[in-house]
Amino acid sequence: MSRLAIEVENISKQYVLGSEASGQKTFREMLSGAIKEPIKRLQRLKGSSSQQERFWALKEVSFSVNEGEVVGIIGSNGAGKSTLLKILSRITAPTSGEIRYRGRIASLLEVGTGFHPELSGRENIYINGAILGMTKRDIRQRFDEIVEFAGVEKFLDTPVKRYSSGMYVRLAFAVAAHLDPDILVVDEVLAVGDAAFQKKCLGKMKDVSCDGRTVILVSHNISMIQSLCSTVAFLDSGRLLNKGETSGVIDTYISGMSQPMSEGEGWSGPRPGNGWVRATNIKLHRKEKEVDTVQMGQDVEFIISYELNRQLSDVGFRIEITTIMGEMIYWFSTDYSNTSIRVSGKTGSVICYLPNLSLMPGSYSVNIVCGAEGQLSDRVDKAMKFDVADGDYFGGGKIPPLGTVHVVAPQTWMALGIK
């Protein structure tokens, strides 16, 4: 029977958001502001102002982790994953609740923390090691291993500011990978380096987890979570929705995300913004027919229906396309295309035409953002979901292997210097 390594009990974390109203200021307001502002700011810094917006990054999260368990934490952006890691690694304190853990936690929230550009690779290995909690003896023992793993033998005495970014990241990860803690907390640091190095890192991570070390890993990369983690915790808007065996949680996660969020009226979830313009529906069209699956390379259009709740002259729209995991891929905006959308009456719709769709096959989710007169009016996350099927984008019958990239682009190649 395995012992508990970490016990998290009712952890909550509250952040205070700045509530500065944005927008244009007159010169007179600026002058009076110069006098009033320092007083206001002092109040805000002391945290005594009552009109501040408070925000729970984590709300009553409880779970426990056994020794030797490798736990993945998933959730969309802003779900509280990083906050949880920061509390676990004692960087920031919880607002309430308690965590108990046994042994020593080493956290990798970023690679190369404390690297100094002016110092040589050798010096940085020692400093970075010390920052991560290694003793000089530990580092000396593993020094050759670290250098070999990073592949920077030749440049050991060169200041790291002269390193290529790839070398820099490899060296930084190498130090971290040779840590020897009881509990390892990792935040998406694997998203660095070239494919070969990523594979090496993944291998190293597997070694660590096979050693019976307790690991907590945050990632958007579901395949990595699947291959490394035995259990997964699913966070959503600061709450722990589900924790359990990997495949089960990932299934609910994906199905939850890809549910065709009952369009239009049934949109659930918060709708930030002043509400001057509100989206009422969105549809994906192909050749004037509503569809939910399109092919790569096809010409498609999104049609947003909206309602107006006051007299407006200047309205803007944005469509954000994300992966099912919430990674942002595209912003299509009336702002960028320099289109002014004329509105009149109470309702209307607007069309966004996308020729030659360059998304790779897969499932995608769409967010709608509406703005009016420079302010946010409405935002609907996961307003709809659509699928992209295989298609002959380049006209040669080939596309990049699935899972390598999300998008493709038109391109032309030619040999230079040959007459």
Binding site: L4, K86, A93, S96, R100, R104, I105, L119, Y126
Partner: protein
């Protein structure tokens, strides 16, 4: 199952496998965890060494700046205060008289300005890794010690040059220095913590250091101040040390009561500084 309370383990080994750690919301004042600080001593060493190594990288004169800085200040002060303003130097050559005071003062003022901004310039570290935050201002004060050592060597050369006799008093200099270090740590930790929340202190510190210097008998001797106002000068913790340094190097008798007051004041400052720092350190990552 609950974590058994019997699992206390080896309390001496912070990094040991059996050590239980509890994370709770911050609650008011708490004691300095010396054990933890000691466990992180290697990090203190590494950061101090980093500060020292980095300071004169990519400069032409390199470590020579350690000597040039106080020497130049000494020359300027000698011309302005010694020659032009004719401030009395108790019968010693003014250059040696002012340099003996500049020695601890330069250390002190550098310690205040580097430790004041230390946390903010280590924002990266503070928001990404855990370690006792006190290490950051400690290491920046520590990095100044090496400069102090070098410029002490210069003072000894100056004394030879100006024919100032060495006395056994000089043996007390390291103890006085220890007092200055405590004083610098006290003020430095407060300033570093304040700078995290109120960046205004980045602008305040340079003025503060400048004004403080003129309130300290650096360019003038204690004897320059009329008897009835001297108690005011004593409220400055640096007065006793600076005067003590002159006694140590120039051989004039020690003013024990002045040094005593300084020691008391700097211990108080140190305790206050560390206590305040401890109280606010868990907020750093959120506000930095």
């Amino acid at each position: 199952m609950k974590a058994p309370s019997s699992v206390k383990g080896n309390e001496n080994n912070l990094f040991g496998h059996e050590h239980m750690t509890v994370i709770r919301p911050p609650s008011g004042w708490h004691m300095l965890n010396l054990k933890e600080l000691w466990a992180y001593r290697e990090l203190l060493g590494a950061l101090t060494m980093r500060d020292i190594k980095v300071r004169y990288k990519q400069t032409v004169l390199g470590a020579a700046w350690v000597i040039i800085q106080p020497l130049t200040t000494m020359l300027i002060f000698t011309v302005i205060f010694g020659r032009l303003a004719k401030i009395p130097s108790d019968g010693y050559p003014y250059p040696v008289f002012v340099y003996a005071a500049l020695l601890p003062w330069t250390f002190f003022s550098n310690a205040l300005s580097t430790s004041g901004s230390s946390l903010v310039s280590s924002a990266q570290l503070v928001s990404k890794v855990y370690f006792p935050r006190l290490i950051v201002p400690l290491s920046s004060v520590g990095a100044g010690l090496i400069d102090l050592l070098i410029s002490t060597g210069v003072l000894l050369l100056l004394m030879l040059f100006f024919g100032v006799a060495f006395t056994p008093n000089i043996l007390l200099a390291p103890l006085l220095m220890l007092g200055v270090v405590f004083c610098a740590l006290g003020v430095g930790t407060i300033l570093s913590a304040l700078t995290v929340s109120y960046r205004d202190f980045r602008f305040v510190i340079p003025f503060m250091v400048q004004i403080w210097m003129y309130l300290t008998p650096v360019v003038y001797g204690v004897g320059f101040i009329p008897e009835e106002w001297r108690w005011l000068l004593m409220l400055n913790p640096m007065t006793g040390y600076i005067d003590g340094f002159r006694s140590a190097f120039l051989g004039k008798p020690f003013d024990c009561s002045a040094i005593g007051v300084s020691v008391l004041l700097s211990v108080a400052l140190f305790v206050m500084g560390v206590a305040y720092f401890q109280k606010v350190e868990r907020r750093f990552a959120d506000v930095i």
